[in-house]
Structures are given as structure tokens and as C-alpha cells.
Symmetry: C2
């Protein structure tokens, strides 16, 4: 094929991909709006609109035409510098195209419909704290996932197929290895910290919402949030969205009873800043976003925990927070406050967990998901299996399903294979962090001066800008020189939490 022909094919491919990306941006906005702005009565029409736009984006991508272009571009790909954007574009497009094409449209449609029904059932079941109401929907989700897995070539472990959707290139066995090491370390570590005497009174509040908003705005501004490209709104479940380059949207949730809004704002900032930092040259292609759920989570956890719960950060911000919330924090010193926000306390609900116990929540789900999928644990047994494992890992009794097996929405919308990426994110966050610190020196000293942009720029330069050009494991190797490795994370936890 001549260079001219191949560049024509590439141009045609890019044109289709740009159209698909535009539709995905529209879909992102429709979703953001439905959670932030839309009047309630607009929900039914919105469901139709989102379904149509989402389906068109999918249909436009999985065409024969895209397949033919990819075939025609195969010889070009071999000649291109594998580091080039064009090579990555062809590689990632082929990977996505081949995966999406394997799933019959009927099954994809069925999965969407079943998720819509199951999430409503989950919502009701959780309100009633009654797993039995959700059980048939979980059964249905598992059945659909098994059919989905059958669309792909047999893997060493069927669960690999699910994991591949969220964490390309990482197998169940690899995750299990990492998690086994973590479990071995975390269970005794938690035991050791269990009886620690921590004064939690600084977190008692109430903290007026307007003050929390002011505190959050100051923090975000220092991290790099600027009105030119960012906005933040309030929703019951915080999330980040990116309906187009230059347009990063966060949400948070304010509760007078605690300061979670601060940490959730930093968490969502981490997701947002990753998308913000992707090279604009990758916009309107499949490369123009984060490379995996795990790497995404590594960044939300970086900004929430490695930055936001660090001593350096609070040396800078505690005096400010104390003056914003002088009635509540006037009498607590920085040391007491920092110990309170870093207290290790086994808790029933994952999203309330501290950095040390969080991993066990994930490991529990990772194990149960595999057992459910293989049938080793039946849907009728999962509730008891859950409660037993909470007893074993966290030493807690589950009082009801709402605080147990029904606490997360994920399974209802078919996110099976996803939880693992949360903990992979924690693991990778410290791997990236170590490299950043080697280059940047004493970052805590920088934070103590309110300087966060050096870290942000380092992460942009080394992680964010590549978008999906590198698979997550490849990115990790390039940045850190090593494979997925839980040891830095374990060392970080020991260092931070052990007396």
C-alpha cells in the first residue's frame, strides 16, 4: 500500500472515530445533566435520548467499514513507529472493535435493559434491606455475564474476560496474587491497629454546608481547578465527567455531619485531572481518555489520600480550615485532626473505609464475584458468605443487608469484574508516587507551602498525557520500571499507620 493510500484510510478512520467520540461526549453530557440539572419529569424522555445516542455511537463504531479500514491499515501499522499516535490509534481501535464485534447486538441490548430493571430493584431492596428482592436480578446479571463471556475465546479463567473490560492486560491470577499478598499483610496490620486510641471529636461537626463549600473551593483551586475548564456541582453520589476536552465536571456531596465532601472532592478531582491532562492531540479518538479503571482510580486515590490525607497537605490547609470552621475546630490541633482523619477503624461500608481496611472490602468482593460466576457460591448463599467473610476479615457482624451484600450498586448494573480495579488503583497509586517523589523531592514540603502544581505537572507529563496510548501495565512499566507490585503500597501503609 502506498503512503498516500494509507494516509487516506487513516483519515477515513479518524473521521468515523471523531463522530463516535462526539456521540460519546453527547452521551456523557446527557448523563451528567440527568444527575445534576434535569427536572425529574424529564427522566423518561432522557432515557430514550441516551439510549439512542449510545446505540448510534456503538453502531457507528462496529461497522464493517471500520473493520475493512483496520484490515487495510494492518501493513501500515507494522511500518509505523510503535510509539507513534497513529500506531496506537490503529492498535486500540482494533482491540475495541474486535471486542465489541464479538457481542451480538441483542445481547448488548439485553444487558442494557436488564441493568435498567436491576438497578431499580436494587434500590428498592436496599431501602428495604432485603436481599431476597434483589436475588433474582443478581441471578439474571450473572447469567448474562456468562453469556457475555462465551462470546470470547476461552480464557484461563472465565473471569479474565470481565476483568479485561476494565483493566486491559491483567489476569485474574495476577490480581489474585497481588490480593493474596495484601490480605496476608492487611489482616494482622488491622489487628495491630484495632485498639489504637484515636480522638475522633474533631470530626463530629456539625459543619455548615456553606463552610464546607468554601473549604472545598480553596483546596480545589490550589490543586489546579480553574473555572475556565472546570465546574463542581452537588449530587447524592459524587462522580466526575468529561463531556469534551476543556470541560471537566466534578460533583460532591455535602453532609453537615462530616467532612467527607472535602475528600470526595479531591477524589473526583483525581479522576478529572487525569482526563484534563490527556494530550489534546488525542481528542476525538479512542485514545482520548484514561487507559483503565485501575489507573483512573490510582489518580483519584492519589489526590484523595496520598495528597489529601498527608501531613504536608494539612500543614498547609489545617490553619485555613480551622479558621473557616472555627466553631468546630477551634480547639483541635493539627496533630489531633490528622490522626482523626487517618483513624483505622474496620467498618461495614466500603465507601466509609479508611486506607488500611479498604483493601479487604475489595478482596471480599473479588473473591465472591468469582465464586458467584463459577457457581461455587449460589445467589442464595451469597448473603451468608458475605457476612462470614466480613467477620473473618474485619471482625464485624453485619446487622442487615443494606450494610452488607446490598451496599453497592455495581452488581445491579452489570459491573462484575470492576471492584478489583479499585484496589489495583491503590496499589498503582503508590508505585507512581514513588517515582514522582524521586523526581520532585520532598513533595510534603511543597504541599505544606500550598504547592501542588509540580506534582500535577509531573503526573501530566508522565501519566496523564498518554491517554490510552499505552495499556495500563505498559504505562506502569514505562513510568516506574516495574510490574504490578503491592510492596510499595504495603510499605506506605506500614510507614504511615504503624506507630
Amino acid at each position: 500500500m502506498t503512503v498516500a493510500t494509507s494516509s487516506q484510510q487513516l483519515e477515513r478512520l479518524r473521521k468515523v472515530l471523531a463522530e463516535v467520540a462526539d456521540l460519546q461526549h453527547a452521551e456523557a453530557l446527557l448523563d451528567w445533566d440527568s444527575r445534576v440539572s434535569m427536572p425529574h419529569a424529564g427522566a423518561r424522555a432522557r432515557a430514550d435520548t441516551s439510549a439512542t445516542v449510545g446505540r448510534l455511537a456503538h453502531e457507528k463504531f462496529i461497522t464493517d467499514e471500520v473493520g475493512e479500514l483496520l484490515d487495510e491499515l494492518a501493513p501500515v501499522e507494522d511500518e509505523l513507529d510503535p510509539e507513534s499516535v497513529d500506531a496506537a490509534l490503529i492498535r486500540v481501535t482494533r482491540r475495541d472493535w474486535e471486542r465489541f464485534r464479538r457481542v451480538p447486538p441483542e445481547l448488548a441490548g439485553e444487558m442494557r435493559r436488564a441493568a435498567g430493571i436491576a438497578v431499580a430493584a436494587w434500590d428498592e431492596a436496599k431501602d428495604a434491606s432485603d436481599f431476597a428482592r434483589f436475588a433474582p436480578h443478581l441471578e439474571r446479571q450473572l447469567e448474562l455475564k456468562r453469556r457475555y463471556i462465551e462470546c470470547f475465546p476461552p480464557a484461563e479463567n472465565p473471569y479474565d474476560v470481565l476483568l479485561e473490560d476494565y483493566e486491559e492486560g491483567t489476569t485474574t491470577a495476577e490480581v489474585a496474587d497481588v490480593f493474596a499478598t495484601l490480605k496476608r499483610e492487611l489482616v494482622p496490620l488491622i489487628e495491630q491497629l484495632r485498639d489504637e486510641d484515636v480522638d475522633l471529636s474533631p470530626l463530629r461537626g456539625p459543619f455548615p454546608v456553606a463552610r464546607q463549600r468554601e473549604a472545598g473551593a480553596r483546596v480545589l483551586a490550589a490543586l489546579g481547578f480553574a473555572a475556565e475548564s472546570w465546574r463542581i456541582d452537588e449530587t447524592s453520589h459524587p462522580f466526575a465527567s468529561n463531556p469534551g476536552i476543556g470541560d471537566i465536571r466534578l460533583t460532591t456531596h455535602y453532609d453537615e455531619g462530616n467532612l467527607h465532601s472535602l475528600f470526595s472532592s479531591m477524589h473526583e478531582f483525581g479522576h478529572g485531572v487525569y482526563e484534563w491532562g490527556v494530550d489534546p492531540a488525542l481528542a476525538r479518538t479512542p485514545l482520548g481518555g484514561g487507559t483503565s479503571s485501575g489507573v483512573h482510580e490510582s489518580q483519584s486515590r492519589t489526590w484523595e489520600n496520598l495528597v489529601g490525607r498527608s501531613r504536608g497537605f494539612w500543614r498547609w490547609f489545617y490553619p485555613q480550615l480551622q479558621s473557616i470552621l472555627s466553631d468546630q475546630l477551634g480547639s483541635a490541633d493539627e496533630e489531633t485532626f490528622c490522626r482523626a482523619i487517618n483513624a483505622v477503624r474496620p467498618a461495614l461500608v466500603r465507601i466509609d473505609a479508611d486506607e488500611v481496611t479498604y483493601g479487604l472490602h475489595i478482596i471480599l468482593r473479588f473473591e465472591l464475584e468469582q465464586e458467584l460466576l463459577s457457581g461455587a457460591v449460589g445467589v442464595g448463599e451469597v448473603q451468608e458468605a458475605w457476612n462470614e467473610r466480613v467477620r473473618e476479615y474485619l471482625g464485624l457482624e453485619v446487622p442487615d443487608d443494606a450494610h452488607g451484600v446490598l451496599q453497592d450498586m455495581h452488581w445491579s448494573i452489570g459491573l462484575i469484574g470492576y471492584f478489583a480495579t479499585y484496589q489495583l488503583g491503590n496499589v498503582m497509586s503508590v508505585q507512581f508516587w514513588r517515582r514522582a517523589v524521586e523526581d520532585l523531592g520532598d513533595v510534603e514540603e511543597q504541599f505544606a507551602r500550598g504547592e501542588f502544581l509540580p506534582l500535577r505537572e509531573w503526573l501530566r507529563e508522565n501519566v496523564y498525557r498518554y491517554g490510552r496510548m499505552y495499556q495500563p501495565r505498559e504505562l506502569l512499566r514505562r513510568v516506574t520500571g516495574s510490574e504490578l507490585d503491592p510492596q510499595p503500597y504495603i510499605a506506605y501503609l506500614r510507614d504511615k499507620f504503624l506507630p
Copy 2:
């Protein structure tokens, strides 16, 4: 064709139309968001996204498949009750399809691109109050409009083709007739009212924005705005949007120096309530929206003027407004306030015009547009022609282009043929109103008690719910039993404004 086949065709047609409507809803949301929520730096990506979604909606509609379905449905249409939704659906779809198909995609694309460039040029030219900067863009818009007109069969007047896009079934000659009558009446009426002594001190302000917001919220709530289906935001140029049934969005603009926000809120409410009142059974079809720009404007003017500037309305609301703005309005009585908001004062800028002089602003534009299109007035002469006509109709000297020929954005985005519908709206508003009053009795007494829902329900029942089932003139005939007629409007003005 058997009934079964025809119902199959109809179902296929409805499926395509639903998809097109969904894309149009997405487009509406993308536009609303870009004006209300989007961070500034998102503009470029948004332009791509909107263009793609808009183009897809258009492409999906003008397919050969839709044309074939319409052909196959032609014999069915003859057998259907012409009053039925199905008959209207086929008729309106055919009308739109035939019009859209006449315009080559290249020309449609060129018109979109040129508008994007011209609106930016207009913005700059207006800021600099320098028509010369905008002149080449106006020339380009006229050239494109002439090419557009050539896509259609020759009409009695080329301007008819443009008018047909906004006010189906009404010709230039008919509008000219109505406007000639109006001009004959309005010019001497204005002369008569010119020297009236009106105390404008109640409108001097300043009126704090928070108070204006509170006043606006009370008024809208009484008219039927409820959070379940409605929202209101602030933008520099107020507008109404409807990105899906059950989802009506207004914007207004607050200026401490005046109370325009109140009237603009009621104006946009009128646009919103028309869309809100369309029968939900027409959703996701081309019938699911207002029938023309003129009828839409008749409703915005109904709620802004016939309701919002009426004595009955203010008998109810003035005491409340006076207590909300006690510092500013404490000393003005209701009579003085009502006279101030209804003062007839020739002004240079259309959007500041009172009910009596407003028509002359429109007539001026309607005349000039035709002269520009035919070449009777060259682009180089339009500035002078504008200023002369303002002298003649309003007795005012135009000090600069920003307050003259550059004041409106419309021409820059290709809205030529559109202004006329504003005044047709005023004319029709009073025609509808007379019928409403025949059925409802003394509406001013109802307003004085804060009761606006009887009027809203009457309008929903008689006007709104039909969506595009009837052409504007047919709707007017069905509701009022008469043709387009400026006499009721003239009588209304005389009755209201003459001592």
C-alpha cells in the same frame, strides 16, 4: 395496501422519527448546556459535538428510506381521518422531508459554517459599533439565502421561501397587508401618545438581584412553573429550551437597573408552556413541538404582555412586589407603577420597545430584508436606510450602529425572514385571547386573585396540545374562526393605551 402492511410502514416511519427526535433533544441539551453550564474552554469540543449530532439528525431524516415509506403511505393517508395523528404525522413528515431534501448537504453545511463565522464578526462589529466590519458577512448571508431560495420552486415572491420556514402557509403579500394596516394605525397612535406625561420613577431601581429572583419565582409559580418539570437559570440573552418532554428550561437575565427580568421570565414562560402543553402522545415525532415561530411568539407575548402587563395581574402582584422591593417601590402606588411599565416611548432598540412601538421595529426589518434580498437596497446602503426609517417611523436619530442596524444578532446566523413572525405573534396573541375571554369570562378578575391556571388550561386545551398537527393558519381558524387579522390587536392597543 393492506392495513397490516401500512401499519408496518407507519411503525418503521415512527421508529426513524423517534431516533431523529432523540438526536434533536440531545442537540437541544448540548445547546442549552453551552449557554448555561459549560466551562468556557469546552466551547471548541462542543461545537464539534453539536455539529455531529445535528448533522446525524438531519441525515437520518432525509434518507431515501423515509421518502419510500412516505410514498408507500400516500394511499393510506387518503383513507385516514385527516384529523388523526397518523394523518398529520405523514403530512408533516412529508412536508419537512421534501423541504430538507431540496437543499444540497453542501449548501446546508456552508450555511452552518458561514453563520458560525458571521455571528462572531457581528459580535465584534457590534462591540465596536462599526457596521463596515459586519457588511461582508451580511453580503455572504444574503448570497447563501439566494442560493437557498433557488432550491425551491419559484414563488410569487422569493421572500416567501424564507417565510415558509418559520411561518408555514403565510405569504409575504399577506404579511405585507397586515403590516400595512398596522403601520397606518400605529404611526398616528404613537404620535398621539408621544407627549404623554408618565412618571417613570418607580422603575429607577436599583432592584437587588436576589429580590428580583424572589419576585420572578413567585410569579412563575403562580403561572404554573413547578420544579418537577421546569427550571430557570440566568444567561445574558434569555431563552427557553425543551430537551425532552417533561423538561422545560427557561433563562432570564437580571439587571439591577430595571425590572426586565420579570417580563423576560414571563415571556420565556410563554414559550416554555407551549412546549409543555403539547400532547405527550406526539412526543418523539415531528408533531411534538410548537407549530410555527409566530404561534410560539403569540404565546410568549400572551404571558409577557396580555397577562404580565395587565391591570388584573398587577392588582394581584403589586402588593407582593412592593413588599419584596419596599425600599424602591414603597412610595409608588399601583396606578403609577402600571402606567410606568406601560409607558409608550419610541426607543432605538427593539428589545426595549413597548407594546405600541414594537410593531414598527418589526415592520422596518421586514421591509429592509426584502429590499436587501432583491438588491433594491445594497448592503452598503442598509445602514443609512435603517437610520432614515427609524427617523420616519419612530421620530428618533440613530446615534451609532450598535443602537441601529447592528442591534440584532438574527441576520448573522441567517435568520432572514424570521422577524416578521414576532409581530404576527402579537397579532395572533390577541386573536386567541379574544376567544379565551369569551370562554373564561373576566380573566383580569381571575388574575387579580392570582388565578392563572384557567387561562393556561384553556390555552393547553385549544392551542398547545395540538403541537404541529395543524398549520398555524389552520390552528388560528380552528380556534378563532377567522383569518390572520390585525384589527383585534389594534383595538386592544387603542383600548389599553388611549386615554
